[in-house]
Symmetry: C2
């Protein structure tokens, strides 16, 4: 993750979502001066008693101290506060890092009035720099006092690092006869790859859903959303997706969901998927240096899993990504990326499309290939690249962005 | 593979190797005008009767037509000619591509006076464009007549695509009491990754080694040479490494090597390794846009295989590569790349070195870390990056280069 450049991605959504309050969630932000000047860098979410929590964390073998803390807190399934800081990831900081997490949790518990173990923590920013918990602690009490139901946009801004725009999404779902709300905020633009995209994402709902059910639903809905985004194939040590369910919609008649098979949760699941998919796409749209959003579709693979591997091979190929940056429908490089995935593929059956334009079929260039038509298509902001393997019924879709000189500048030119 | 820029890599060797003749090998080049103007694009090597051949080919599931041709020719183990063209890879060209290979082989056989099946073929350049065999055929007769034992440098130049310098290496070995020679030429600078590095490489020797033994030795010596180089993680459809043994050193008393276990081949194996390693390093030094050669060393892994996976994860990480381009010893990104490899690693044991300078140890920044000292080191052309996992005895080394804006320019800005 490199420097913050100040320019907003050309792929940013036209409008930033307005998020409604969620009963049982209050938010506030502060400027602790961890690393950045003139901006907020601490988010505190204060959660109603009885809030259930679940999460999906990075599979990195070298996770950050906050990730280890969250992992150890899921079993009890309850949360009363979330503290997020930007500017310092508290990753690869050894025993000091673990101490800093514990100290932050203790200070937040004191400020909010809960147990240390009910505080969840996430950090993002530089790796390997010791994080001083006292710097965060200094602002926690006033932040707790300032916490309000309306501060969603400020919350999304406080957790940004190289992000060029804040990422928010919201949806409603029917749960029994009640309407429940789901709000999500996220950050991430580099070091983005499954699992998970490097990112922090926090989702809040008033739906009364028990922690084990929440966990199961979240895992399933992550597969085709956050885990289907890649900017640079680099998975962070800090990836964290947390969902908090205050359960306050019970007072409006929403039924409590306590078992995995409860059909009444179907619409909640749909709405959660929409929020996660929306945030994941915003992350791809804010890929470092990105000028194009690329949707890589694979169909006709021998399985969904095989389609995913081929889609990621294409989406992570520097040669495919630089060609798209150059607005070239270079399907030869797509063939290369299919070939190197190691998954079943038959060169002589393969078809490749940019948008609806078939550029290659049956192992060769499409006879009706019209380069001018494709060139016009390649000027778009959003490129759909489809590979049909014609072997089976496995399909998948992965989001990525192009690879530009700006990516290299952001990640290589940041030294003074 | 993008445009040829005309600038020579700053990492190019100070001198280009002078290769001695090898009895039984004659070379000539020609300008057929396949794609490039004002340069040679066809290489013909004419080989003595009885020449043994072996090779290692891309594992791409979408190989080029010449790769398929070579694969089908290994069983008989004999070669009389090699035809290489640059400018067009004859990959993903369907039935036309296969026909073009056969036609080229037939025309070469006619020009050289051998059987079609004794002609080996390799092509490099654009994917997906039909290749006209007649264009190559037109120059083959005169090229065969011009073939001479001295033309090594011209041969290495004729096979270049985005390469900025020709790649040649030579070594001698004792075989019995005779001295045998090994010459190699290679090309490759983008779409470079195991297996193999994208490249064409052709090795010639006068050692009398039977094809099955040659094949076994070549495979083993490829593991830590060509298969340990990555520029961009992109494996080509055309990777081809061929070795031709004319066996003419028999006349100088070299013993014929016919079995795998023959100890007399040990020095030949050492010399072959040296030639392959030299050519592989030249490919990394000519990585598209490269300004730094990076040697990634992993030790203390649970196995060699695990060390290789971790080394490749580091060597292919865009964030590590851009940081090195920016002369930043960003070991946080190295931790990230170790973590995402999915191989056994313990964050709290890990040590990371740039050169001899330990920057991180026992899960945190080295207490004696001196950023100024490291900054001076990072200005070098050749960077040694070492990760010690402290888990076992598995070691490995992989070569790569930095990721610069020039890489993106070469691969994205080539359209008019």
């Amino acid at each position: 993750m490199g420097q913050v450049t100040g320019k907003v991605s050309p792929l940013a959504p036209a409008t930033i979502a307005e998020l409604p309050p969620i009963h049982g969630v209050r938010l506030a932000t502060a400027s602790a001066g961890i690393r950045y000047e003139g901006r907020t860098d601490v988010l505190l979410a204060v959660l109603e008693k009885g809030t259930a929590v679940a999460g999906v964390l990075t599979r990195s073998k070298c996770p950050s101290a906050p990730v280890e803390w969250c992992r150890s807190r899921f079993a009890q399934g309850r949360a009363r506060a979330l503290v997020v800081n930007s500017g310092n990831a508290n990753a690869f900081t050894g025993a000091k890092g673990i101490a800093a997490v514990k100290r932050t949790a203790a200070l937040a518990a004191e400020a909010v009035g809960c147990k240390t173990g009910e505080v969840f923590i996430a950090s993002t920013g530089v790796i390997g720099e010791p994080l001083d918990a006292e710097v965060i602690g200094r602002v926690l009490r006033s932040t707790a006092l300032a916490a309000r139901p309306e501060n969603w946009r400020a919350a999304a801004r406080a957790i940004m690092t190289t992000d060029t725009f804040p990422k928010l999404a919201t949806a409603t779902a029917k749960l029994g006869k009640a309407e429940v709300r789901i709000n999500g905020i996220a950050k991430g633009s580099g070091m983005i790859a499954p699992d998970m995209a490097t990112m922090l994402a926090f989702v809040f709902t008033d739906a009364p859903i028990a922690a084990p059910v929440l966990r199961s639903i979240l895992r399933q809905e992550t597969v085709d959303t956050f885990n289907a985004v890649t900017v640079d194939g680099d998975t962070s040590t800090s990836d964290t997706l947390l969902i908090f369910a205050t359960g306050t919609a019970v007072s409006r008649g929403a039924p409590a969901i306590k078992s995995m098979g409860d059909k009444r949760a179907a619409d909640f699941r749909r709405a959660l998927h929409a929020v996660l998919a929306n945030l994941a796409e915003q992350i791809a749209r804010d890929g470092e240096g990105a000028r194009k959003l690329v949707r890589v579709h694979v169909k006709g693979a021998v399985s969904k899993n095989s389609a995913r591997k081929i889609a990621l091979s294409i989406a992570n190929s520097p040669l495919v990504k630089t060609a798209i940056a150059g607005e070239d429908a270079n399907w030869g490089r797509v063939v290369m990326a299919v070939g190197k995935a190691g998954e079943p593929a038959n060169r002589d059956k393969l078809a490749i499309f940019f948008g609806d334009i078939r550029v290659a079929a049956a192992g060769a260039r499409d006879p009706s290939y019209d380069e001018k038509k494709v060139s016009v298509y390649m000027k778009r902001d959003v490129i759909d690249l489809t590979v049909d393997l014609k072997l089976g019924r496995g399909t998948d879709r992965v989001l990525t962005c192009d690879l530009t000189k700006e990516y290299v500048a952001i990640n290589g030119d940041y030294r003074s």
